[in-house]
Amino acid sequence: MDLTLKPVMNSRLLSQTESPQPDGSADIRLDIQLDRGDFCLAANLCLPATGVSVLFGHSGSGKTTLLRCLAGLERASGNVNFGQQCWQSERHWLATHKRPLAYVFQEASLFDHLSARGNLDFAASRAHKRKGPQADPAQHHNFDDVVEMLGIGHTLERYPQQLSGGERQRVAIARALLSQPQLLLMDEPLAALDEQRKQEILPYLERMKTSLKLPIVYVTHSIQEVTRLADYLVAMEAGQVVAHGGLADTLSDPAFPIKLGEEAGVVLEGVLQQRDSQWQLACLRFDEQFDLWLRDCERPLNSAIRARILARDVSLSNSRHHDSSIQNAWPVTVESIHDSDHPALALVRVRAGSTALLARMTRKSVAELQLASGKSVWAQVKSAALV
C-alpha cells in the first residue's frame, strides 16, 4: 500500500458538501492533528447534527483514533466543537466525563462486577451530571423504552459473563443511551460479532436511527453497515480524510477514493410505493418518477426504504429491450466514464433525474455503444437488494 500521505484528492466532492447544514449551529466541527511518529492523523471536518455519520476506511486508516479524539479519550491538538459548546481548543479542554456523549466500544465493555441492570443504572444515575448545549426533555430516553427497543428485558438480572456476545453489545448500547447523550459514538460495534449476531443487531441499530433524534458517529470498515446505516459518509485513508459528503453523493462518485471493486455501487433512498402480491414484488419509487421493482419485504407501504444497486448489476443499451428478463429499465444520461479496478473495465456514471447510478462494463462495450458524456441511453438493473 502506498503509505505516503495523500492530499484531499476530491475537491469537487468536498466543495459540494462543505456544510451539511446551512446554519451550521448544531454541527460537530473538528479540526485536529495528532502525530505519533509512525502514524499521523489530520482531519478537518464538519459532521451534521442529525442522522448517522459513518467514518469508513480500512483498518489502520485512523477512524477509531479520530473517534477517540472526538470523545476526548485521545489528546490531539486542534479544535473540537459540538454545536455552540467548545470541547477542545488551544486553551480549553473538556474532560470526557463532562462531554454530553456516549461511546459504544468494539468489544464488550460492560462492567463485570455489575449485573446488566447495574450497568444500566450506572449510566442512568450519572446522566443528570452533564447537560449539553441543547438538552431537550423530549429526547429523554426512558429506561423501559430503551430496554424494550433493544430487546434486553430478559437479561437484566444477569451478569455480563452470563450473556451472549450479541446480548452484551445490546446492553452496552442501551447503557450508552441511558446516559442521555446528545451525541452517540460507536466504534465498530458489530466487528467482534459473528455474522449471525450482526444480523441480529443491525435491525436494532436501524430502529434507533429512525426512532431517536440522536446524532450518531459510527466507525466501520464494512460497506454493508455503511449502506444500511449511513446518511453522511467520511472516507479515511492513512490518517487523512479523503472524501466526505452525503451517502448518495459519495458512493456514486466513481472517483470515491476507497476501492470497493465488486462492491462498488449506489444506494437509492425511496418510498415503498406499492406491492404486487401476485408476483411477490415491491416497488421502490425514487426521485418521484422512477420505479424500482424488487423482491417484496415486510415493511409497510409508504415507509422510507433503501436499496443498493451494485455497478456490476447495471448494464446500458442504446435502445430499450422489451424481450429481456430484466424488469427495471430507465432512460438515463451518461455523465462521465472512469477507470475501474481492471484495465479492461470502466465505471460509467449515469443520471436518472437527479439520481446518479454507476454501471460497470468492459472498455470494449463503452467503445461499441459509443458512450460519451451527455448521451441518452437505457439503463437496465439486473438486481437490487433492499438494505
Partner: protein, 228 residues
C-alpha cells in the same frame, strides 16, 4: 498448649502492628501502584526498583539504615525531633514505619498487577458514561480490582507478622512495645524454653498455612474477566 502472659502480650502486639501496617500500606500503595501503571515517566523503572528493594535486601541492612536515619543524627530523626516526637527507634511507632517500608513490595505489586491487567478500558467506559476520576476509582476500578487488593492485604499482614531482622534492629526487644511473636520465640530458644517456643512456633505455622490457603482460595477465578 500453654501460653504465658508475655506470650499473649507478644501475640496482641503483633496483631496490632500487622493490622496497623496493613491499613497504612493499603492507603499509600494504591497511589503508588496507580502511578506505576499509568505513568509514562522515565522515573518509573527507578520507582519500581526502589519499591522492590526490600524483596532482595537482607532485613538487617534495611534495619541498619533505618536505625541510622531515624536516630538523633539522621534525617528522619531530626525531623521527628523538630516536630517534638522524639526519635523513633525502640518505639512502636518506629516499628510501624520500618514494617511499612519492609512490606511495601508485597502490597504494591499485587495491586499493580491487578490494575495493569484491568487496563484503561473500564476507566474509559466510566468516563464516557459521565463518571469523574474519583467516582470511577471507587465505583469501577476498586470493585473490579478487589481480588488484587485482598491479596495485597493478606500478603502485607502475613509478611509483617513474620518479620524478625528489621524488628530486632529497629525495635530492640522491649516487652509490650516492640517484642513481637518472632522475638518472643527467639527469647524462649535463647533461654532453652523449648516447650514455650514450640507453642508459639506451632501457632505461627498454623497461621501461615491458613493465610496461604486463603490466598490460593482468593485466586480461584470467580468467573472469566472480559477485559482483555
Amino acid at each position: 498448649m500453654d501460653l504465658s502472659a508475655a506470650d499473649i502480650n507478644a501475640i496482641t502486639l503483633t496483631l496490632k502492628l500487622a493490622t496497623l501496617v496493613t491499613l497504612v500500606l493499603l492507603v499509600i500503595s494504591t497511589p503508588i501502584a496507580l502511578w506505576l501503571v499509568h505513568s509514562q515517566s522515565r522515573w518509573r523503572p527507578v520507582v519500581n526498583a526502589v519499591v522492590a528493594l526490600p524483596l532482595v535486601l537482607p532485613p538487617s541492612v534495611l534495619g541498619f539504615y533505618l536505625l541510622i536515619s531515624m536516630g538523633p543524627n539522621g534525617l528522619i530523626g531530626q525531623t521527628t525531633m523538630a516536630l517534638g516526637l522524639g526519635t523513633l527507634p525502640f518505639t512502636f511507632a518506629g516499628l510501624v514505619v520500618a514494617s511499612v517500608l519492609y512490606s511495601l513490595p508485597f502490597v504494591v505489586q499485587p495491586i499493580q498487577n491487578t490494575l495493569a491487567s484491568l487496563g484503561q478500558r473500564p476507566a474509559e467506559v466510566a468516563a464516557t458514561l459521565g463518571a469523574g476520576p474519583v467516582d470511577t476509582f471507587f465505583r469501577v476500578t476498586l470493585p473490579l480490582a478487589k481480588p488484587g487488593f485482598l491479596t495485597a492485604a493478606v500478603l502485607g499482614f502475613a509478611h509483617t507478622v513474620g518479620e524478625f531482622g528489621v524488628v530486632l534492629m529497629i525495635g530492640g526487644n522491649i516487652p509490650d512495645e516492640t517484642r513481637v511473636i518472632s522475638l518472643q520465640i527467639y527469647d524462649h530458644v535463647e533461654a532453652l524454653q523449648y516447650d514455650q517456643a514450640h507453642s508459639l512456633s506451632l501457632l505461627m505455622v498454623g497461621f501461615a498455612f491458613v493465610v496461604l490457603l486463603a490466598l490460593y482460595g482468593l485466586r480461584q477465578p470467580a468467573g472469566g474477566r472480559s477485559w482483555t
